[in-house]
Subunit: 146 residues, 2 copies
């Protein structure tokens, strides 16, 4: 397994490919909702690769302020869920954010994934709300120096 | 089947997702060769969709001059080849290019796909050359007004 955290074109392509497969094709989220205007050339993605040609999990780094980092568009390839990849991905994103001065991690998680995020140390700060047609909760986690 | 010709974020995501699956995962082309710096926000892709959540074929419009349009990164989903989708995609790209004033279509095709392009009306102009590690021929087709 390899973690790549960058805005390289190949890393963005891998992120978009996973989101196309998972959010649009598998889950039926409308393509023009899933793909907003924030996948810009300077956007940094955290991706997990089985090997260089097989991306398996992704998330998008969305700074909310110099202190607060939101982890967005989190997903893992369908056939590889339940093996701790999501948790590994999130840990890599948290480590990177901490090293870059962020003190809080924020997730707008679907209610169905709430248990997973709580397991990862997140606490509900608000919600549930309706966001893009699905109920979501807002969760926070302090990024304390290790 | 739906053809979408645009630089909308969702259309770019679909193009990158197909290329990730076909060129990188299936064919083993290095990810940083496949994903160059030309998938910019203003890039127009020609994509074929089975329905809104299932893109099946893609190509990238790469203007070489006001007269010459190159069709790049042409591919069709593995399980749907041999059904004429590539030819349908190429025709849509040629029609769009003709309507936008282009008079010649150009393809750098792998030698293994030469027969397909010849069937679509392309004629070898040069090659074969080595390009990104594979032998390619350069093919031209006049885009004559219908």
């Amino acid at each position: 397994m390899e973690v790549v955290i960058s805005n390289a074109p190949f890393n963005r392509a891998a992120a978009l490919a996973l989101r196309q497969a998972i959010f649009v094709t598998e889950r039926g989220i409308p393509r023009d909702v899933e793909f907003d205007d924030r996948d810009t050339a300077d956007r940094v993605y955290v991706n997990l690769y089985q090997d260089a040609s097989h991306p398996v999990a992704t998330l998008r780094l969305e700074p909310q302020s110099p202190q607060e980092m939101r982890f967005g568009r989190v997903c893992t390839r369908q056939d590889l869920r339940g093996q701790g990849l999501g948790s590994r991905l999130l840990t890599a994103a948290e480590d990177w954010s901490r090293e870059h001065g962020y003190t809080t991690g924020v997730i707008h998680g679907e209610v169905s994934a709430q248990g997973f995020y709580e397991h990862c140390g997140y606490v509900i700060a608000d919600g549930p709300f309706d966001e893009d047609g699905a109920p979501v909760v807002i969760l926070h986690k302090p990024l304390i120096s290790k």
